[in-house]
């Protein structure tokens, strides 16, 4: 039994005719890392904005760190750190000045300010770049600074909106290490992503979103077993052959998904006497994702 850092019930957010979030329930227990996984346009960013009251829900209940939103959002925000999807650092300021500004915005007292900034510099591995202007930093450094800026006041809850979007794999792994370190310190994290691997590696619980709704949630491993079984048979061939394979698998009660040039037959370990040639591989979260959202991942 643990406390909830975030609790959403039946949250709806509409923009004109578009319903961005459509009756979302979300629990984030304290001390865990929850990944919001979904294709572009699934409502992840809107959910993030709702949590800082930068968007106001049309329906439903929202609580963050025990504060009701939107009325008590400011008190909640004081204990949250937020990393936006789009970089909004002050580019003409130095690394240290950016952290100084946020040390003030997050109300760190004069006595603790110096130390908080040093700690953030260490965390972002930017101690020797403290006097560099932000527009002179590499993309990876900027992203690390963006995350460290959100941690300067030791928040209880960190909201990361697509923390590694648009970065090359090496930089992405650096950031994963940073987020993992944060997690092991016991900070609660809600992270949105459309990278399967990111969710699989970092999240204790994954919530798959599609069209503003939660379509599944659980630990990555449990989700895989529940929806895609243990093994997948991947069959390659021309389109006609693939359609034929889909029909055969369907007749045996197995679920399939297209993977560009192949068909993946899910949960083949259960299909007794199922004889088609192909490559066997373990089921993964991507299988679940595509099955549930009907969308390929870029």
């Amino acid at each position: 039994m643990s406390d909830l850092a975030i609790r959403l019930r039946g949250v709806v957010k509409r923009y004109g005719a578009i319903t961005a979030v459509d009756g979302l329930d979300l629990d984030v227990p304290e001390g865990t890392c929850v990944g919001l996984l979904g294709p572009n346009g699934a409502g992840k960013s809107t959910t993030m904005r709702l949590l800082t009251a930068q968007a106001i829900a049309d329906e439903g209940e929202l609580e963050v760190l025990g504060f009701r939103l939107p009325e008590e959002s400011k008190a909640a925000r004081a204990e949250c750190g937020v990393t936006p999807q789009l970089d909004n650092l002050d580019t003409t300021l130095t690394v240290e000045q950016n952290l100084l500004v946020f040390a003030h915005l997050y109300r760190i007292g004069r006595a603790d300010r110096r130390e908080a900034i040093e700690r953030a510099l260490v965390m972002a591995k930017l101690t020797d770049r403290r006097d560099s202007r932000v527009d002179k930093l590499s993309g990876g450094m900027r992203r690390r600074l963006l995350i460290a800026r959100a941690l300067v006041h030791r928040p209880r809850l960190v909201l990361l909106d697509e923390p590694t979007v648009g970065l090359d794999p090496q930089v992405r792994q650096e950031l994963w290490a940073l987020i993992d370190a944060l997690r092991s310190e016991g900070t609660t994290i809600l992270m949105s992503t459309h990278y399967i691997e990111e969710a699989q590696r970092l999240a204790d619980t994954v919530l798959i979103m599609s069209h503003g709704k939660a379509v599944a949630s659980g630990s990555p491993a449990a989700l895989v077993v529940e929806h895609a079984g243990h093994e997948v048979l991947e069959v390659y061939g021309p389109p006609a052959r693939l359609a034929e394979v889909e029909a055969v698998a369907g007749a045996s009660g197995l679920r399939t998904r297209r993977t560009g040039t192949s068909v993946s037959i899910l949960g083949v370990e259960a299909g007794n006497g199922f004889k088609i040639d192909g490559e066997r591989r373990p089921a993964n979260l991507e299988d679940v994702f595509v099955l549930l959202t009907g969308e390929e991942i870029a």
Partner: protein, 266 residues
């Protein structure tokens, strides 16, 4: 599962000092990276107006409304400097900060409300206008305007007027969907008000409608107050002008908050 127990303060108040300070610190730190260019333009611009009008027109006009023309223009361009260092930076700066740099998204994710954000931004711009507004007066003194004790009130007058124009600029940015819309405001609102402010020529020779426009023009009240600060106060009339500037500031302040809340919180 129980919900995390909330700490003492359930709800933080409005217009809190730490929030205002946070936004102001950001502006001050940023200012350290661009103060040279902004001080240059705020100093050179009124000097050019002063030289061009003061000596160009001054040679033709001689005395106006009982003043040497250089004195007339030197005091009048304080309001111009205030307008240029408040309304314009507020319009463009606000638009850039929410649209391109997304600075306001970052600030509003911290414990800062739109009301605090807008107020702090306006306070900062007003303070800059209070300082830059004095430049034409100093330039005019160099060119022969006699210093007077009353001039010590000029930074305050410039500050009050600057606050109003800053809020005006923020409101315009808040209501505009694109940069292009600023052209309408500059051509249809700011330029006419700039010309019927009594900066370069007195209003009492103008037709009635222009005089009316002058009397509802905050810029005109600013011009008159600065002139009276330099040449002698006019009692109740000046108090009424101060009241008009304060009212202008307060009304536009609330409008600016409304406009930005609409823009920043969806």
């Amino acid at each position: 599962m129980a919900v995390a127990n909330p700490p003492r303060a359930r709800r933080l108040g409005r217009l809190e000092r730490p929030a205002l300070t946070g936004v102001l610190v950001r502006e001050v730190v940023n200012f350290s990276s661009y103060w040279k260019s902004s001080t240059f333009s705020s100093t050179v611009e009124p000097t050019i107006y002063l030289l061009a009008f003061g000596f160009g027109f001054g040679a033709l006009v001689g005395r106006i409304g009982g003043y040497e023309y250089v004195e007339f223009v030197g005091t009048g361009t304080v309001a111009t400097a205030v307008l240029f260092s408040s309304a314009f930076p507020a319009m463009f700066g606000t638009f850039v900060k929410y649209q391109f740099q997304r600075t306001y998204d970052a600030i509003l994710a911290a414990p800062v409300d739109t009301e605090e954000l807008v107020t702090a931004e306006a306070l900062w711009i007003a303070t800059r206008a209070g300082v830059y507004g004095c430049v034409p007066l100093l330039v005019a003194i160099v060119f022969g305007l006699d210093p007077a004790w009353g001039m010590l009130a000029v930074p305050l007058i410039a500050w009050i007027a600057g606050f109003g124009w800053a809020c005006f600029g923020i409101s315009v940015a808040g209501f505009s969907k694109s940069f292009e819309n600023f052209n309408y405001v500059v051509s249809a609102v700011l330029t006419p008000l700039f010309l019927v402010a009594g900066t370069f020529f007195p209003l009492d020779t103008l037709p009635g409608w222009a005089q009316f426009l002058g009397n509802v023009n905050p810029l005109h009240h600013c011009v008159e107050l600065v002139r009276h600060a330099a040449f002698g106060w006019e009692g109740w009339t000046d108090l009424a002008r101060v009241a008009a500037l304060v009212a202008f500031g307060l009304i536009l302040w609330r409008i600016a908050i409304r406009a930005m809340a609409r823009k920043l919180v969806d």
